[in-house]
């Protein structure tokens, strides 16, 4: 099944717009896991099992694995997701941005090595930095548009012919780059009015929305601004608020993660 269809099925099947981010930070792991050689895999599998019926997608952030030299663990987690939860889209958060032969190598990494349904990409190098990924039929490309960090405005808010750059990116992707129908955008939750503007530009294109939970975005404003007419269209991502839901990080971390994921999913659904 292609990325967009799989995502639509997961929205409906789990009645959820919640994307669970997997950012494994050893220092925040429960004490009983920290000394295990397979700590990352054990932690992520427990989170996945505890939240798989509440999520519309899982999103491992590759930087956390790369810093630790834990690519083999990421492979194992991705294989586990594909085997046990093949109906939940697997998004590799990598924000790759390169061209030609190099982009093709990154596509191999995301789609073949890790088996991701979709990968996040930067638009700065233009369409031919996205096009090589489209050779993988049915896989998704989720392109940075408006990010929720303070510095996001440095470039994204520059005035291009009377409109901020991020709106040009939204229009470029929606009207030109999305030739395979598998594109989506990243738009942060901290600026709901801008999310609404992107939604107006891109129609029903899915939007990955980080920034709720630990980053503080407001759920009601985010959902109201970003939902499609059908009350979907979003992958609202939360990572640390779910993964590290118990400050004491005890053995009940997965149950605590499930509790926060459930609350978050339901808080989102109140406003769909």
């Amino acid at each position: 099944m292609n990325f967009i269809n799989k995502l639509c099925a997961a929205w409906a099947g789990n009645n959820s717009l919640l994307c669970v981010g997997l950012d494994p930070d050893l220092a925040r792991f429960p004490a009983h896991l920290q000394q295990r050689p397979d700590a990352i895999v054990a932690f992520c599998k427990a989170i996945i099992d505890a939240t798989a019926d509440l999520a519309c997608a899982f999103k491992p952030q590759i930087a956390y694995f790369a810093a630790l030299g834990a690519e083999a663990q990421l492979e194992e987690i991705c294989a586990y997701l594909r085997q046990h939860y093949p109906h939940i889209p697997l998004i590799l958060d990598a924000k790759r941005g390169d061209i030609g032969a190099t982009a093709k190598q990154y596509a191999r990494e995301a789609y073949d090595r890790y088996g991701a349904d979709a990968v996040t990409l930067s638009p700065y190098m233009g369409f031919d930095s996205v096009e090589p990924y489209m050779e993988w039929s049915g896989r998704g490309q989720i392109i940075l548009c408006r990010t929720s960090n303070a510095g996001g405005s440095d470039l994204q808010f520059l005035n291009v012919d009377g409109k901020p750059l991020y709106q040009h990116v939204a229009a470029l992707v929606a009207n030109k780059w999305n030739s395979n129908g598998q594109c989506a955008l990243v738009v942060g939750a901290t600026f709901p009015e801008e999310l609404a503007q992107v939604r107006a530009i891109v129609g029903d294109m899915p939007v990955l929305v980080p920034g709720i939970g630990a980053q503080g975005g407001d759920i009601e404003a985010t959902v109201t601004a970003g939902k499609t007419g059908a009350g979907a269209g979003m992958m609202i991502s939360s990572s640390r608020a779910i993964l590290y839901a118990t400050p004491a990080a005890g053995e009940d971390f997965a149950a605590a993660a499930r509790r926060v994921a459930l609350e978050t999913r339901d808080a989102i659904n109140l406003h769909r």
Copy 2:
């Protein structure tokens, strides 16, 4: 020694502005190497040994390693560079672009795991996607400005207050982001007049210039446009034209690579 000082010393010591890119593509390796389990390491070490007195920097492209699950080989190659050629800057070409805690993980990957002197970064997410790298004192941040691919114009040439976006990026980096004095820019070789404009904006800031060799940029025009008053300021990068210098890919691949590297270095020096 910090990145910029090391680069200046390499420019002078090897009388070279040539940056040798390491993009290991197994399919183009010499036949006698292809079946070896350590093919990538053997190939890259031979290229490094054959060109280390002709290069101002080495630049492994991490995508080629990531596609093959060859991070351990990249670690070995980087360790070899640091041990045997500590005076030549090691640039990790990764074009990372993420913020906060995630950017810090990528910085750990580049600077701690691989021991890179500098890493390439995307500017799309703004200053706080670059700032976390600056915690590593003396390490370099090489930021995408104007890229040489056809699609580079999609964003980089958008008109921002009468000037193309890439010139805003050049000014941002030169005037605001370069607070640690360790920043550089990426500007492709296919548009020499634009390279000259960037040079005018950024003073003596080093510029990494891909696009000669296999990508067809003109050496004389590139050097004339991009050099500083002192006849330096550039890392002119060539990868495939050097790595795969013998079409037949025989056992003399390293000697052939040296020949092309020498010709390229000397062709560059003619116009400094």
